[in-house]
Symmetry: C2
Subunit: 431 residues, 2 copies
């Protein structure tokens, strides 16, 4: 047993090149931060995971070492309880207004859980999906995730351009601030990855412009490519109803048109299409009120935010019990998170909607073998033991150096936006 207990936890913050993507909270910085976690057993089995990067969470992970080192990675219940007790004296709900505002306990536990499941899978010589009851599909479908954006590729080029880029690589650098720009972005992204569904991250421009973009996408791709629009909760209820009505028949679902469960419930009553959320119902604590009000049809889960893969399976049972659908939210991420999302996506009872992923927006990777392949918009479920992906040590060094060099400590889209539009203000409800 000693051989299997946890000997060390290695926490490596990294920064991956991210283009200047717009959203309701501002602008993506030139780098997206992630934290790579390695849990090492005494017999040197290494389990890995990836979570959104934030120096506060990294510090919390650092503090968690003392309670996790020495524990058996199978004892996930004990580890979870220990983390909860450990951070009990601190505020446990530290979310702000933005969807990526982070809660310490779920992030820390998610990081440790996925890494421990990776260890267990390696011991068993089984993919993680088999620890979630086994796979129900071989391919997990994702959606094209369109963004309004400024010109630029991010990273060391900042908002500059690699003029030798072609195809999607060129489109990824291109400005997209109009319906035409969005359609062009979609064409290249869909061609490159084979996506069968398209999501537009909205909340960046005034509503009619974004509605026009949805209709332009519909005009180009036709009725067989499901579309979604996500105003990031920045619309007033009346705006959401007015423009929502004009998008009925065009949207597969409407994501977070308004802020708060009450407003979502009202919008849902008024509109004849499913409403999805990753902003109004974002934790198990939010579920009872969601059910009472009927706040949404679809919960966009995220194992980083919901406390891991097993918790996500529990959320799935809650959704099926209460007639909700489950799909998946994403942040900018690399292949370790993607692998975890795919294992979960393979185990879920149903995947009624292609999952979100920011993956196309990154070009770097931290896993051996480089970028994960998409086939017809879907990712094959890894069959190797555990997550089925391993860290590329050289790339980890490079991306960690990016982190040290770029100076970013947490995501702050407001700060980035002000670099471009100095007097820009965040508003919870803008239109």
């Amino acid at each position: 047993m000693t051989g299997l207990t946890i000997k060390d936890i290695i926490i490596t913050p990294i920064a991956a090149t991210d283009p200047p993507l717009l959203n309701a909270a501002g602008l993506h910085a030139p780098y997206a931060l992630r934290t790579i976690v390695e849990v090492v057993t005494h017999d040197n089995i290494i389990g890995i995971s990836e979570i959104p990067g934030n120096s506060d969470i990294d510090d919390a992970l650092e503090k968690s070492k003392e309670i996790i080192i020495g524990k058996d990675p199978f004892q996930l219940n004990q580890i979870r309880d220990a983390i909860e007790s450990h951070f009990d004296s601190e505020t446990t709900a530290q979310r702000g207004d933005a969807p990526w505002d982070q809660r310490k306990i779920v992030h820390v536990f998610s990081a440790i859980e996925v890494a421990c499941l990776d260890i267990i899978g390696k011991i068993l010589e089984r993919p993680i999906v088999d620890l979630l009851g086994g796979k129900r599909r071989n391919m997990v479908p994702f959606a094209a995730y369109l963004f309004y954006k400024y010109k630029g590729a991010g990273g060391k080029l900042e908002f500059g351009i690699d003029r030798n880029a072609t195809g999607w690589d060129a489109a990824r650098q291109a400005e997209a601030t109009t319906p035409e720009g969005i359609v062009k972005q979609a064409i290249f992204m869909v061609k490159e990855f084979g996506f069968k569904s398209i999501k537009l991250k909205g909340g960046a421009f005034e509503p009619q412009q974004e509605v026009n973009a949805i209709k332009a996408l519909y005009a180009h791709f036709g009725p067989n490519v499901p579309l979604r629009h996500d105003p990031n909760a920045i619309w007033k209820l009346e705006t959401a109803i007015k423009h929502g009505k004009s998008m009925e028949g065009f949207l597969e679902y409407f994501e977070d048109p308004v802020r708060g469960q009450e407003n979502m419930a009202k919008a849902r009553q008024a509109l004849k299409m499913p409403l999805a959320t990753n902003m109004c119902t974002t934790s198990f604590e939010d579920i009872p009120k969601s059910i009472k009000l009927g706040a949404e049809d679809i919960i966009l889960s995220d194992h980083h935010f919901w406390g891991g893969l097993r918790s996500s399976m529990e959320l799935s049972r809650i959704c099926s019990t209460f007639g909700r659908k489950l799909s998946m939210h994403s942040n900018s991420h690399l292949g370790i998170s993607l692998a975890a999302m795919v294992h979960l996506g393979a185990a879920l009872p149903e995947v009624p909607y292609a999952l979100d992923t920011h993956y196309p927006w990154q070009s770097e990777e931290v896993i051996v073998g480089g970028r994960t392949k998409f086939e017809e918009g879907a990712v094959q479920v890894p069959s190797k033991p555990g997550l089925g992906v391993e860290i590329d040590r050289e790339m980890l060094k490079i991306l960690h150096k990016n982190y040290l060099d770029c100076g970013l400590k947490k995501r702050d889209d407001l700060v980035e936006m002000r670099k471009v539009v100095p007097d820009w203000e965040f508003k919870q409800v803008r239109w």
Copy 2:
């Protein structure tokens, strides 16, 4: 991988001696029926499970062989989906009015799931609790489960008596049809097993007599031994409120005083004590209405009825999400079911109430080493791989012969009651 696929499923119905216990639906037969299931892999790893005995379920298990044989025991999601599709053409909700009326799919899947988890545990050399996230406690507490009963020990003695019996063995044979008889039964059972909580199965005598029994128990055991009363949903709402009020301050919780979620919700509003159920909310399908109405405080789960151990963990998450407590229901059972209950009980986030078990009422066993030991009313979590218990082949033969000899095919307390009281009628609501 071939070595690990399922080669055979062996289904053995057995009958274990059961005393003439009374409840709202009639009388226990001289034998309690159980079905022992063995799932055998090509490399001859045998996973075992035990479910309530019923020839219809045995037939359904038999029919399931064709879809389960050849499958990998890790692929529990696929196995579950296959069973659901297989029985889709048949009625999936076949419950009647009695709590042990059985639904085919959950029973069949529960039998297969526990046996597969036993196989996985054996491969991993880990107890099943480690497949549920690991144990949160070393001892799982159970409650004394008192029954009104006629004189007799059941089995081949029918309603006869072994006059050489002493202590609990004698008390188990004794008549208990009065408050005094119930207190005497409790004294011997508590002494034998060390239980710290006491449940009285009621619904057998008119309400005031049962209230008197509760008060007699309180008078004897004092305020430090939590008491529960279970009228088996046979009381009218007004009866439940009237007599419930007289038991406020005496009961830890009040179990199924009335029939149906609406009545439970009304009783819950009227009474100042927690209400528990294993009769009004008994499946995931029942949960939304339970939450809407506020039908109970405590769900008494049963992995045989809720589709296995992993589903029970999901139920636990639903309960904690909606502010419900989870405890455990029982039927007459032997050591394989008990082991599964203990693994689950060890993994649950909390065990706020000692779990139900009929175990003291049986004296036979089907597992190697004989009867499971209780220490201070609790059972130690098995640490051996899988369930941690194995079939005693000689006892399996004997108990299977009991089954063949006794001629019972399913539980029917009405038939048994009429052997004693020929004109006895079952009533959904009696008092």
